[in-house]
């Protein structure tokens, strides 16, 4: 295999693996802030138990997120040196801001969060929790800003030619608030909140099914259900706004997302389907003219298809982009239905009566994770062949001085180490969940004492 393909596989693998953890940290962080805030406000011990329990899971998640994140930071230089020189002037300031403002905040307060229970007052501890949570939110901001700039560059000019060409900042705020960044930051935050909320829902649904920690699990379940319902509904808004932006700024990507080839015709909106690149046809179930309606509020309005663009400026993996995009949408819709139905049952006072629903919630932890991954794959593969949209191609961006064998070596190393890391993560997660927030056998009336 050639260097470019290997470098791309390595980047995709390491970033996808990394992205399991930060969204979970952000989402669990939000739930922890709520739990601990309620503890401080009401003084009820049950919220302290919940905070301490979720803090343990947060610590493991956060730790692996940091360890795998450092690799991303340096992988730009090792594997994508041409890209690094090209975007350093722009990407760099976002990365520097991320390090100083976001990572500095979360990592210093993390120590107090985890080890400081007996050393600082509850209020200071709560402030540390908020600090870590905000830090992780800011991290997402700067990283998504940098990525959004690659999708929709703004506030820059190109200096030099050939190998020494690079983008330089002309307007910092235009770079930060480039056309896609706000929509995407909100969308990514929401994806992260869902990852965390469904993790909490899943674990407490499991306890409820097993009849363990029933009272605190009901509390935790209801709180997370509120978060999950609000976020899954509002994510529809940021998703739609984001797609509108893609229609304007990256028309080829939008066409690939719906498998739309015709140069200028009304475009359909599919529920699911299969794109055949040869015949340029989509087989599936869709609303004729649906995409045209979503973009222009008119079923007849034509939309530029893939054939309207030069052959070397459109994604080659159209079906993959289509599938990833539709997996994300389908899961999003399913989560809306699930949370609305559960909220309806809660309103009727029957939330915990349906075992099958709790079972779905117990497994639902995987869904936001899959949607988050699929969404990024659609966004990144849809941007191809560009690494910086309209300026730098992926095939020109990798390190020329690195050989295929070197990457093969590091790729194997990554596979082995990450496989071990993932197993350890699952193992310790499982152990912490099985163990539970406290040992029931020793404290049969633990909960009663607290309320």
């Amino acid at each position: 295999m050639d260097t470019e393909i290997l470098a791309r596989i390595q980047f995709a693998f390491t970033v996808a693996f990394h992205y399991i953890y930060p969204p979970l940290s952000i989402g669990i962080g939000l739930i922890m802030v709520i739990f601990e805030g309620l503890y401080l406000k009401t003084g009820k011990k049950q919220y302290e138990i919940l905070t301490r329990f979720w803090l343990k899971i947060f610590a493991i998640t956060f730790g692996i997120g940091v360890a795998t994140g450092i690799i991303m930071e340096f992988e730009f230089g090792t594997n994508w040196s041409v890209y690094s020189k090209y975007v350093g002037d722009i990407f760099g300031s976002a990365l520097a801001a991320e390090g100083l403002f976001a990572f500095g905040l979360e990592s210093t307060f993390l120590g107090i969060l985890i080890f400081g229970w007996n050393r600082v007052s509850p209020k200071v501890h709560f402030i540390s929790t908020i600090g870590v949570f905000f830090g992780s939110m800011f991290s997402a901001v700067w990283i998504v800003v940098a990525n959004s700039w690659q999708q929709t560059p703004a506030g820059y000019h190109i200096v030099g030619e050939g190998l020494s060409a690079r983008a330089e900042v002309t307007d910092f705020w235009a770079m930060v608030f480039n056309p896609s960044s706000v929509d995407r930051i909100i969308h990514v935050w929401q994806g992260a909140f869902l990852a965390g909320a469904f993790m909490v829902l899943s674990v407490h649904a499991y306890y409820l099914l097993k009849g363990r920690y029933v009272e605190i699990s009901k509390k935790a379940f209801k709180i997370s259900l509120v978060v999950a319902t609000i976020v899954s509904l509002t994510q529809l808004v940021s998703g739609h706004s984001s797609a509108d932006g893609v229609a304007v700024n990256q028309p080829a990507k939008l066409a690939a997302m719906e498998g739309h080839y015709d140069e200028s015709a009304a475009a359909d909106l599919y529920m699911f389907g299969w794109v055949d690149d040869e015949s340029q046809k989509v087989t599936g179930l869709g609303i004729p003219g649906g995409l045209s309606f979503l973009v222009h509020q008119d079923f007849e309005e034509p939309i530029q298809g893939l054939n309207a663009f030069p052959k070397d400026e459109i994604p080659t993996q159209v079906n993959a982009v289509f599938q990833f995009y539709h997996i994300m949408i389908s899961i999003g819709m399913f989560l809306i239905g699930l949370t609305l139905y559960a909220s309806y049952l809660w309103w009727r006072g029957k939330l915990f009566e349906k075992k099958w629903l709790l079972r779905i919630f117990a497994f639902s932890v995987l869904l936001p994770q899959i949607a988050n991954q699929a969404g990024w794959f659609a966004a990144e593969m849809g941007r191809q062949p560009w690494v910086v949209y309209g300026h730098l191609k992926t095939s020109d961006a990798f390190s020329q001085e690195v050989s295929a064998n070197q990457i093969l070596f590091s790729l194997i190393l990554f596979f082995v180490v990450y496989a071990i890391l993932f197993l350890l993560f699952l193992y310790s997660l499982n152990k912490k969940i099985k163990h539970g927030p406290y040992i029931e056998a020793e404290h049969p009336d633990e909960f009663l004492k607290y309320t």
């Binding site: 692996i64 930071e73 002037d89 500095g104 990592s107």
Partner: protein, 345 residues
């Protein structure tokens, strides 16, 4: 070119990066150094105490690596890209070891079984030792220069050429100073028999450091051409090697008086002075080319635009005091000897 306080932006950013790398070396120096003594501590409890000595701090200390790397990427993208891609193998090993090190801290005490803890102890020891060593090896390679052609094109060896004699020597020196730093830090954090054991180990560490430091210095003066030129031009900077030498001499004196807090400050100063020495000697070069000086990466041909550097200097001016405040609060909270409780590793 724009200036601030009479210093041009690339030079200011060079100082920022230097400061960040020094902070990283000093803070993670005692983390890695403490880990490099891990297998020399015999009892399980001692090893647990040693890990918990850095427990609440190491995540924060690691911030310096992340900001340092980001600062290099942001301010000198050419340097960042050229060095990392040319040193591909050592950096990949370094990153992998960082992951294994984090995993061993998190998972070591999660189980009681002897085989489990022994395995993680070995991984923890090896990763800390090799991380310190590899950092020195990379520094050694940078000091000697890379085979850089026009447009910073690297044409040197790609698999094992980074393991040359000089780089290995700098690697051992770096490891030894980390170990000295780590042992002093652990002495501040421990009591009783573990404390006695560590003060015995620290003596070995200082001998290891002084020998490797002496050999590396002699080798540098003998075999690296032009290393003293800068000092002949600006003799006032002879103060740097003198200060470094005084700091080196002061550490054993303070240790023998059991003034460990001061000893830690002076062993940190050794690193700071040595890095200043390197920085002064290289300036304005970041990465010398062994082919021709005109192909070297310098702070001027590697720098981001004036506009971008200006933005980043503003970010640093706002962010640095915040970060300093966080650190003061964190270190104040966990001041004193290690006490294990239910939140410990």
């Amino acid at each position: 070119m724009e200036t601030f306080l009479g210093i041009d932006y690339p030079t200011l950013w060079y100082l920022v990066v230097g400061l960040l790398f020094s902070g990283y070396a000093i803070l993670e120096g005692f983390d890695y150094g403490a880990g490099a003594w891990h297998l020399f501590l015999r009892k399980d409890l001692s090893r647990r105490v040693a890990i918990n000595a850095i427990g609440p701090l190491w995540d924060a200390n690691q911030v310096w690596l992340i900001i340092g790397g980001g600062a290099l990427f942001a301010g000198f993208p050419v340097m960042y890209a050229t060095m990392l891609s040319a040193m591909y193998i050592p950096f990949m090993l370094f990153l992998m070891l960082l992951v294994l090190r984090s995993a061993s801290i998190k998972f070591r005490s999660a189980e009681e079984m002897t085989w489990w803890r022994k395995t993680w102890d070995i991984i923890y020891f090896i990763s800390n030792t090799l991380i310190g060593f590899l950092l020195g090896v990379v520094l050694g390679n940078v000091l000697q220069g890379f085979e850089l052609h026009e447009n910073f094109e690297y044409k040197g060896g790609i698999f094992f050429s980074f393991l040359n004699p000089y780089a290995l020597m700098v690697g051992f020196t770096t490891l030894s100073i980390f170990m000295t730093q780590g042992a002093i830090f652990l002495l501040l954090k421990t009591e009783g028999r573990l404390h006695d054991r560590l003060s015995f180990l620290l003596k070995k560490g200082m001998i290891f450091f002084i020998i490797s430091f002496a050999i590396t210095s002699l080798y540098t003066l003998t075999f690296l051409p032009g290393v003293t030129d800068k000092f002949k031009e600006q003799p006032v900077f002879f103060i740097l090697p003198i200060l470094a030498f005084l700091a080196v001499a002061n550490v054993p004196r303070l240790v023998s008086k059991k003034k460990y807090a001061q000893a830690l400050i002076f062993s940190s100063l050794i690193m700071a002075f040595l890095l200043m020495l390197v920085a002064f000697q290289l300036y304005p070069v970041l990465l010398p080319s062994t082919i021709s000086p005109e192909y070297s990466v310098t702070i001027y041909n590697a720098a981001s635009s004036q506009k971008s550097l200006g933005i980043m200097l503003t970010i640093v001016l706002i962010g640095a005091p915040l970060l300093a405040a966080y650190f003061l609060f964190l270190y104040k909270t966990f001041h004193g000897k290690v006490k294990l409780d239910d939140t410990s590793y």
